[in-house]
Amino acid sequence: MAVRIQSVAVQLDSTQVLRSVDLDVAAGEWVNVIGPNGAGKTTLLRAVLGLVPFRGSIDINGLRDRRRSARARHVAYVPQTPVIPPGMLVADYVLLGRTPHRGVFAAETVTDRRIAAEVLERLDLGGFSDRTVQSLSGGERQRTVLARALAQQTEVVLLDEPTTALDLGHQQDVLELVETLRRERGLTVIATLHDLTLAARYGDRVAVLAGGRIAQCGRPAEVLTVETIAEHFGAHVRVIDDPEGPVIVPTSAPAPEFGAAEFAALATSKES
């Protein structure tokens, strides 16, 4: 098991964000964590990164070393809204990913610089190394942040809403890229995604985080049902079966299953 999360509870200020989260993610697996706003998806990722105090246990490849730098050699993070440092060149930004390997006081080695160059090349950012990160378009920026995470050479990559602020084409580009890299390098991916159709299309399993727990976890077709989505998201949707995974389409309320006959029955029961 690459990542084993057991009975994890997180309290932020006086709010119990996570109550008891259990989730096992196998090596090389991609799990998408979905859930309504405020369910604690980001908090769960931050707990895995060791950025928030938690109760319970999170095991990453049996790592015993509790130091931040040790953890950063095993888990990389792509935040939802990365801080773009003013004036920093793409090359230097990607080289930041080597920090946990080189140590914070040491200069980058040739190996570090070679790895960063290769990652940039792999993500088609080769020509951008002398540009500032600020000057890039949204899609290029997202790839640059991903490049920094890949330069960390970790087995586990955490993606927090990696498609936010991207148009549909770029959303697909980024997720296809993650999928390719996962296959090439055997990465373990845990991502949070808002778009349920994308969550169904990419990745092996979907985990629904609601009420501070993993309410459901399984293959997309098992989890992404009309009932589950109505229960946890309060959304009215139609789920269309597609060979590549369920397609979730919003509908106007009430949901189509709740037809005219049921309405009539409801009206009669109220009258009586």
């Binding site: 990164l49 230097d92 006081f105 040739v110 050479q153």
Partner: protein, 361 residues
């Protein structure tokens, strides 16, 4: 785990190109060093007594251990160069280097371009300390012991300590620390104003102190300043790469294995100690800690690996030139150096701002 790492690294091998990392280039270092040399020679050459630049250079070379040159200067002129102008130039270098290094450090640590060495109340604390010492009139002008620098140094450090403690009580963000600094500074400035009003006879001395000066009596001031500069510069330079990591914010820096709060605590303490020492010997010289690091950023890029060392060199050179202007423009009277740094620095900075195409903020 080790197996996974080894397996991972094989997939990465085979790249024949390596990225260039931001680092201080020899050319940049050369430009900075040249600015210092020009400033030193100008500072030693220009003054009421005309002494040729080439003689000054020979005299300087002669002063170096293991070298002997005949500069052809009379004993009196040699004494002017070595005993009067040289200590003052060295003090200017040290104070300018220290203030701009502190400013650059604060800007990086707080990720705030408006930060300067006085952000956490050093100026107000030192001002209050100096005001109390001057009004108390202890050891006024007589004897070797002057309590004003000591009081200023202590006041500055107390102010930073209180700001840091109060800021961390208020929360974990850098904004709360900056706000605490503003509160502490306002409080101490109010105290200083009160003391000043109650002792209007000391008004002129206090204002003169506040406006700053690079004045030396022999080598005692540079000797006092040197250890603070060397130690704090060593700390800050060691942390230059860590400050680049902090540029992505505390959360991402932590995810990259760095402890942002610890890095910030160490560098801010070092920068504050350095600034307090500079303030104690030269009063409140404003503007240097802001414009020198920003000019360096605009000219050479935003990485702290470049900004910190070059701020030291250009800050030193700038202060020597500013002091040169302060003592020659109205000679034999001297302008307060704080006036000169702003008067020369502000238009120059606007010019740089207008012409640079770099995005550094």
């Amino acid at each position: 785990m080790t197996e996974a790492r080894a397996a991972g690294s094989t997939t990465w091998s085979g790249a024949d190109t390596a990225l260039q990392a931001a680092d201080l280039r020899l050319r940049q270092l050369g430009i900075g060093a040249a600015a210092v040399v020009v400033a030193v020679v100008a500072g030693l050459t220009i003054g009421p007594v005309g002494i040729g630049a080439h003689r000054v250079v020979l005299e300087l070379a002669d002063a170096l251990p293991g070298l002997a040159f005949d500069s052809g200067l009379s004993d009196a002129h040699a004494a002017i160069v070595r005993e009067i102008r040289l200590p003052r130039v060295v003090l200017g270098l040290l104070v300018g280097a220290t203030l701009s290094m502190s400013g650059a450090t604060y800007q990086a640590a707080f990720r705030n371009p408006l930060a300067d060495p006085y952000l956490l109340g050093i100026a107000a604390g030192a001002g209050l300390g100096a005001t109390i010492a001057i009004t108390a009139n202890v050891g006024d002008g007589a004897g070797a012991f002057d309590p004003v620098p000591l009081a200023a140094f202590a006041g500055g450090l107390v102010a930073v300590t209180v700001s840091y403690a109060a800021g961390h009580l208020g929360g974990r963000s850098t904004a709360s620390l900056i706000l605490a600094g503003i509160a502490v500074a306002s409080f101490l400035t109010a105290c200083q104003t009160y003391v000043l009003q109650a002792n209007s006879d000391a008004f002129r001395r206090i204002i003169a102190w506040i406006l700053g000066r690079i004045a030396t009596s022999g080598w005692s001031e540079p000797a006092l300043m040197l250890p603070y500069f060397v130690i704090t510069a060593a700390v800050v330079m060691r942390y230059r790469r860590a400050l680049d990591v902090l540029a992505v914010g505390d959360e991402e820096a932590a995810a990259l294995g760095v402890n942002p709060r610890r890095v910030r605590l160490v560098v801010v303490l070092a920068a504050s100690l350095a600034a307090a020492a500079a303030v104690s010997v030269s009063g409140l010289i404003g503007f240097v800690g802001i414009i020198v690091p920003h000019t360096v950023r605009l000219a050479f890029g935003a990485s702290n690996r470049v900004v910190l060392p070059l701020s030291v060199l250009f800050g030193g050179a700038f202060m020597v030139f500013a002091d040169l202007a302060a003592r020659t423009v109205l000679s034999p009277a001297e302008l307060p150096i704080g006036v000169v740094t702003a008067f020369l620095g502000a238009p120059f900075f606007v010019l740089v701002l207008r012409t640079s195409r770099r995005e550094v903020w």
